[in-house]
C-alpha cells in the first residue's frame, strides 16, 4: 500500500480511505464532538498520508495504528486550539479546565481505538455484556465458552480498556515525525 501511494496511484488512495476513514472520522468525532470538525480532520489526515507516504515506518507498527495516531494527534491539537481561542476571546473557564477537557477527550478517543483494536473474542464479550446487557453466564452461552472463560474475557477486556487512562498522550517512544501535528 505504501509503495502504491508513493507511486501516486489514486486507486490506492481510494482503498486507503475505504479501509481507514471510519476509524479516522470516529476518533476525530470522539475528540471534537462535531461532524464538520471531524470531516476536516479526515481531510487533513488523508491529505497528509497521501502527500507523505514515506513518513510511515512499518517498523513502528501497522499502518492502521499510524493513521490512528495521526488522527488522534491532529484532533487533540485542533481541540486545544479551538478551546484556547475561545478562552482568549473571553470564554468561561481556566487553562486547567481546558487541559482537563483535552485530557478527557483524548482518553475517550484512545479508549475507542483500544476497543476496535482488541482481540475479537474480548470485544465480543464486552459487547454482549455491556451493549446487550447479558450477564456473564448468558454471555458464556452466547459465545459457546465456559463461564470461567467469559469472566476472564470481560476482565481482560476491561483491563485493556483501562490502559486508555494511564498511557500518556504523547508517548516517550513516539518516533520522530510522528509527534508533530500535520
Amino acid at each position: 500500500m505504501q509503495q502504491r501511494l508513493a507511486r501516486g496511484e489514486a486507486a490506492a488512495l481510494g482503498e486507503l480511505y475505504d479501509r481507514f476513514a471510519s476509524l479516522v472520522h470516529s476518533l476525530a468525532h470522539r475528540v471534537l464532538d462535531d461532524d464538520e470538525a471531524a470531516d476536516r480532520i479526515t481531510r487533513e489526515v488523508f491529505g497528509y498520508v497521501w502527500e507523505n507516504p514515506d513518513a510511515y515506518d512499518p517498523k513502528q507498527g501497522s499502518m492502521r495504528s499510524w493513521v490512528a495516531t495521526l488522527a488522534h494527534r491532529q484532533a487533540v491539537h485542533r481541540l486545544r486550539q479551538t478551546e484556547a481561542a475561545a478562552l482568549a476571546a473571553g470564554g468561561d473557564g481556566t487553562t486547567e479546565d481546558l487541559e482537563q477537557k483535552v485530557r478527557q477527550a483524548s482518553v475517550a478517543a484512545r479508549a475507542d481505538y483500544i476497543v476496535t483494536s482488541m482481540p475479537a473474542p474480548l470485544r465480543a464479550a464486552l459487547e454482549l455484556a455491556y451493549f446487550q446487557r447479558r450477564d456473564y453466564r448468558q454471555t458464556a452461552v452466547d459465545l459457546g465458552v465456559t463461564e470461567d472463560e467469559a469472566r476472564r474475557r470481560l476482565r481482560l477486556g476491561l483491563q485493556l480498556l483501562s490502559t486508555a487512562n494511564t498511557r500518556p498522550v504523547t508517548g516517550a517512544s513516539t518516533p520522530p515525525g510522528y509527534g508533530r501535528t500535520l
Binding site: 507511486r7 501516486g8 476513514a21 470522539r30 497521501w50 467469559a150
Partner: protein, 401 residues
C-alpha cells in the same frame, strides 16, 4: 492480602481464601474463593453478575485492597464504553476527501473519470456491509426485475446478492484479462447464467466470506483501468446487458452499468435490513440516466422486431432527424434527453418530438431496474400515447436479474 497486579492467578491455596471469606463474611450467602472473586471483577464492573455474586464481590472489596484497586480501574473503564459508536460516515465525504488529496498532490496514475461511479458505488456498498453481522448477511432479499412484460422476482440473501454482483462484475474483469473468480467451469457470458451457476454450484449458500473476493475484484478492476487509462474505455465487453440488442458494451459503459447495478442492489440490501440508503451523487446519477437514455433507442428497435413495440411510423435515413420523445428527468442528476423512436440510427430531433415524459431521476432508475412496472411509474405524460407506452416498457425491459 497482597496480590500480584499482573493478572496471573493468585498463588494462594483456595482452601485458605474460602476460609477467610467465611470468617470475614459470616452473613454472605456465597462463600467464594479469592481467586473466583477476583475473576468476577470484570463481570461485576459491567453489572453482569448474579445478585449474590455482586454482594460477595462488594463485601470482598472492603477487605482486599488489591481487588478494590482493580475494581475501581475496571469500573472507570466501563465508563469509557460508548453506545453511540456506529456513526455512519457521510458517503459524499469520500469524494470530497479524495478530491482534496488530489488537489494537493496530483495522481500520477489517476482513476479514469468514467470509472468514478463504479469506484464510489462499490465503496458505498462496502461501507454498508461493514457493520453487518451473520443475521444481516443471511437476511432474505427479494430481487425484482421485469421480464416477458411482467414483474418477476427471486429470493436470495444479502450474501447471495454480493455473489451475484461478483459473478457479473467478473464479465468486465475478464474483458480486462483478469481471472474469473468463478473458475473455469462457469459460463463465460450472460449475467443471469453466471449468477445461476454460482448459486447452484456452491454446496452451501454464500456467507459473509463472499465480501472479500467481491471487494478485491472491484479494487483490481479500478486499478487495472487506472493503469490502462484512456485506451481501454472503448474495449468491447461481451456483456449481454440491458435488453437483447446490447450483447456487448464499451468498457466505460459496462462499468457504469455495474455502478448502477451496485447501487440498485445495495438499495435492495439496505431495504432488507432496514437501513437508509441514498441515491448516488448527482453527477454519477446523471451519467447512469444518460446511459439508459442512450440504450433506449436500440432496446426499442429490438422490442419492435420481437413484436413488443409498435411498428416504426416514419423511417428516415441513418443520421437524419427522426421522431423523438422528450425524456425530462427531474431532481438531482436530471436533465432532458431526446429518444429516437423509429430507429437507433436516426438523430432524435427536438423539432420532431411527438411525446413528453417527465419523471424523477430515482423513479426513472427504479423503472429501468425493473423495481416498478411501466404502469406504476409516476410519470407526467403528454403527446403520442403509443410512443410513451413503448418507451416506458422499453426502459423496464432493460432490467434483468
Amino acid at each position: 492480602m497482597p496480590e500480584p497486579e499482573d493478572g496471573l492467578p493468585p498463588r494462594i491455596p483456595a482452601q485458605r481464601g474460602a476460609a477467610d471469606a467465611r470468617d470475614e463474611l459470616p452473613a454472605a450467602p456465597l462463600a467464594l474463593t479469592h481467586k473466583v472473586l477476583k475473576s468476577l471483577l470484570g463481570a461485576w464492573a459491567l453489572a453482569a453478575c448474579s445478585p449474590q455474586e455482586t454482594e460477595a464481590v462488594e463485601a470482598h472489596l472492603t477487605t482486599c485492597a488489591a481487588c478494590a484497586d482493580e475494581a475501581l480501574r475496571l469500573r472507570d473503564a466501563v465508563g469509557l464504553l460508548h453506545t453511540d459508536r456506529n456513526l455512519d460516515l457521510d458517503p459524499l465525504l469520500r469524494s470530497r476527501v479524495l478530491q482534496g488529496c488530489l488537489a494537493g498532490r496530483p495522481a500520477r496514475i489517476p482513476v479514469p473519470e468514467w470509472a468514478a461511479p463504479y469506484d464510489a458505488e462499490t465503496a458505498r456498498l462496502d461501507a454498508l456491509l461493514n457493520d453487518f453481522g451473520d443475521a444481516e448477511w443471511h437476511a432474505p432479499v427479494r430481487l425484482k426485475w421485469f421480464e416477458s412484460e411482467q414483474p418477476v422476482s427471486r429470493r436470495t440473501t444479502v450474501a447471495g446478492v454480493i455473489a451475484h454482483l461478483l459473478s457479473v462484475d467478473a464479465l468486465v474483469a475478464m474483458a480486462l484479462g483478469l481471472e474469473d473468480p468463478l473458475g473455469e467451469a462457469a459460463p463465460s457470458a450472460g449475467p443471469t447464467e453466471r449468477t445461476e451457476h454460482f448459486w447452484r454450484s456452491s454446496h452451501f449458500p454464500p456467507t459473509r466470506r463472499i465480501r472479500e473476493p467481491w471487494r478485491d475484484q472491484g479494487h483490481d478492476l479500478i486499478r487495472t483501468v487506472s493503469f490502462a487509462g484512456r485506451g481501454v474505455a472503448e474495449l468491447a465487453v461481451p456483456y449481454g446487458a440491458r435488453g437483447d440488442k446490447h450483447s456487448s458494451l464499451p468498457l466505460q459503459d459496462s462499468l457504469l452499468d455495474r455502478a448502477f447495478e451496485c447501487w440498485v442492489h445495495a438499495g435492495d440490501i439496505a431495504e432488507a435490513v432496514d437501513y437508509p440508503y441514498d441515491p448516488p451523487a448527482a453527477a454519477h446519477l446523471h451519467t447512469m440516466i444518460d446511459l439508459a437514455a442512450r440504450l433506449l433507442p436500440g432496446t426499442l428497435a429490438g422490442r419492435r422486431r420481437a413484436g413488443l413495440a409498435a411498428p416504426a411510423r416514419h423511417l428516415v435515413r441513418a443520421g437524419t432527424p427522426g421522431r423523438s420523445l422528450r425524456l425530462e428527468i427531474e431532481g438531482v442528476g436530471g436533465g432532458n434527453w431526446y429518444i429516437a423512436l423509429d430507429s437507433p440510427a436516426a438523430i432524435a430531433s427536438p423539432d420532431r418530438a411527438v411525446a413528453h415524459i417527465a419523471l424523477d431521476g430515482v423513479e426513472f432508475c427504479r423503472l429501468a431496474a425493473g423495481h416498478i412496472s411501466p404502469e406504476e411509474a409516476a410519470a407526467g405524460q403528454d403527446g403520442d400515447r403509443e410512443a410513451i407506452r413503448d418507451v416506458l416498457f422499453a426502459a423496464a425491459s432493460m432490467s434483468r436479474l
